[in-house]
Every structure is written in C-alpha cells, then in structure tokens.
C-alpha cells in the first residue's frame, strides 16, 4: 500500500532534517510505542502495540535511517515481525524551504504486510490499520517538530 502527503513546519530545514534523522526523536512519535532501543545513529528498534479489537499484538520493528542527503532528503526503512506476520515499511521525506522560511515536508510511505495477517486479517481492515499508523506517525512528527519551535 502506498500513501503520500505533505505538511509544513515552522522551522528551518536544518532543524527539520536533524529531527527526522535522529532515531531518538523520530521513534518517540511512532504510534503506540511500548519500547525503543537505539543501536546507533542510524538504527533503532521499536516495539509497538498494533491492531484493533482482538487482532492486536506487539510488533517489533527494526528501523534504519538510510540515504541521508542533508538537508533535503532521507528514508526510514523498517521491518517488523509480530501477529504471525511481517510488516515492511519504507517512509521517505523530501524537504523544501518555503517562501517564508518554513519547511515543506513531502513524505511517501509504502507498507507491505506479509504472512497470516495478510490472508486472515479482514481485508480492507489492514489498509485502514496501515493508513491509521502512518497518519499517526506523520501527525506525531509534525507535532513533535511544532513543539520544538
């Protein structure tokens, strides 16, 4: 599943870039996070509670910040296991300086779910879960950035 969008933050492009490429700060805004372990400047592991109703469980997601092109773009690649399934997620950010000095963040997210959830999870529902999680993630980042400024 592919999702994309953009938002504007009242902060400099360098500030936004630094935020997006900092595992400690990015991970804090991921949805329903229970635990975060930072391995190094690029890699971190997040345990999150995912799902609805009784189709719910902990997904352990290993994430890596890749393709750093300061201060214009970066990609977060993650793979998580849980709920008898595997979730692959790629979120990339492209930054642009707006006319008033604010930063325009373009994001693209791709989520693929493999395994039992893909087949047994009620269809349509998975898309909703994925969409909701990405939306929450983006909202989190946005508010995290706003809070800083």
């Amino acid at each position: 599943m592919h999702l994309e969008g953009h938002f504007t933050v009242n902060a400099s492009i360098d500030t936004v870039y630094a935020f997006l490429t900092d595992p400690a700060r990015v991970s804090r805004h991921m949805p329903d996070v229970r635990d975060v372990i930072i391995q190094d400047a690029d890699r971190f592991t997040v345990t999150a509670r995912v799902g609805v109703s009784h189709i719910k469980g902990d997904v352990v997601m290993k994430l890596e910040i890749r393709d750093r092109r300061p201060p214009v773009s970066t990609t977060v690649v993650g793979r998580g296991a849980g709920l008898a399934s595997v979730v692959d997620m790629v979120t990339s950010f492209n930054l642009e300086v707006g006319q008033g000095g604010e930063t325009l963040v373009h994001w693209r997210g791709d989520v693929t779910i493999s395994g039992k959830l893909a087949a047994f999870g009620p269809q349509g529902l998975l898309d909703r879960i994925a969409r909701k999680n990405i939306d929450t993630f983006i909202d989190g980042i946005r508010s995290g950035l706003s809070a800083r400024t």
């Binding site: 009784h54 719910k56 469980g57 008898a84 047994f120 529902l125 909703r128």
Partner: protein, 297 residues
Amino acid sequence: MFPADFDYVVPRSVDEAVAMLVHYGDDAKVLAGGQSLIPMMKLRIASPRVLIDVNGIAELAGLRRDGDRLVLGALCRHADVAASPLVREHLPLMHDAAQLTADVQVRNRGTVAGSLAHADPAGDWPAALLALDTHVTVAGPDGTRTVPLAAFLVDAYTTQLGANELITQVAVGIPPGRTGGAYAKFERRAGDFAVASAGVQVTLDEAGRCAAVAISCGAVAPSPFRARAAEAMLAGQALSEDLLAQAEHAVRDEASPFADTRGSVEYKRHLAGVLVRRACVAALARARGERVDTLHL
C-alpha cells in the same frame, strides 16, 4: 495450532469480571462464545495474555421479555435466539439473522453480545440489530451505562466499549402491531460472513402505507449503517415496486464498501441495493401477517 500461552481466570459475577478487567487492562480479553477469538488466537494474530471467561456468570445467560423489550444477556447464544418462539413471533428479523449466522456448532456457542463487541463489519448482529431499537448495556468500574447500538458501534472492529468494560445485556424494543421485519444476507457459501446484508423493519398504517421504516446495511461500509436516504423515500408512502426500485438505487449510493476477495466495490454496492429490496418485500409481507420463511439467497 496452539495459541500463545495465556492465563485463564473465571469470575463468578459481573463485578468480579470488571475488577479483573481493571486489573489486567489491555492485556486481557473477555471470553464468551470464543468462536471468533479462539481461531484468531490459534493463528497467533491475537495473543491476549489473560482470558477472562465469563461463561460461569449465571446472571448473563439467556433471553427474556421485559415489558416491551426483549433482553438478551451477554451470554445469550445465537442458538437461543434462533430457538426462541418470542423472537420468532415478534422479531422475525432477529430470527432470520440467527438462522443465517455461521453454522449450528458456532450458533450453539457464539453470543450476540460478543458479536456486537467484535464489531466485524461483515458480522450479522451489528447490521441486523441496527434496524431495530437496540440498546447495549455495559458494566465498568464506574457502574453500568446504556447506549444506543448506533452510538456503540464506532468503526470497523471498534466500539465504545472501554478496555475495562464488559457488555452485560442487549435490549431490543419489541415493535408494536402491523410491523414486520426481515434480514437478508448474501454469502459466498453457507456459514460465511456476509458479502452484503440488509435488515428492514417496516410498520404499516391502517391504510397499509409505510408508517415507519428502518433499513440497515451490513458489510458494505466500515461499519453497518442506516440507509437514511432510502428510509426517507419510503416513509409515509405506499410501497410500490417503483418506489422499492428507487430505494434500491438510493442504497447503492449510500454504501461505501471496500474491495476484497468477497467482491468488488461495484458488486457490493449493487448487492446492498438488491438485499434491501428483497428484505423490504419480505418485511412488508410479514407486516401484513403473511408467513415468509427466512430468505436463503
């Protein structure tokens, strides 16, 4: 096919069950019929750490008439509804839904309240009971509260039920005279969830016109919904073939299904209309006192 390990606790009363829910929080699930929960646990796409088995709470069992309401305890099974002469006589829509839910064995275990709590968009009870005057009573740490079903159902698999709450009963208003209801379901094969479903409850006036009508649609939106546009078309009218055809079209536009292996968006919209129309015809006949068997499509 074993579930991940969990603890199993057996409350003897609603209060005790609520206390357990408060204690274990989000890690716990209530086990009533278990006919949806246990398969998901075996597949390990659900792994609650604690199961609170409420099957031993006597006060939650069965169904009874309470004045102008039918009251289903939280442990009332689909089979209890199917076997009830009271339901058959006064709430044929529910009789239909009970007949059409899953299969004999599942109907013997699964509960109506559990089905509402699960809020599967393609489940039968949320859609069927939405066409009736249904209220859900839940118990929590702060006592009990009663909410209309429409408010209880929030979204796909999402209800108002808090993590520390439990449904204690479901109450359905028994319609007065000159009314009839029907529930129609299209399934890929016997025992399946609905591709689309519809509940219709019609009340006629003395002239045989439609005094009031409630139309619910299941499986064709993230959550079952009342087809208000179609209802508005029919209310106060003589239900002619033409009018029913218009209502059928209106329902197609009100539906917002997602595509899956059960069908495309276009097909599900079409089915929603067809089912509403067929349920209308059956409900109307029943309102006129005719005997109509459960529709098997």
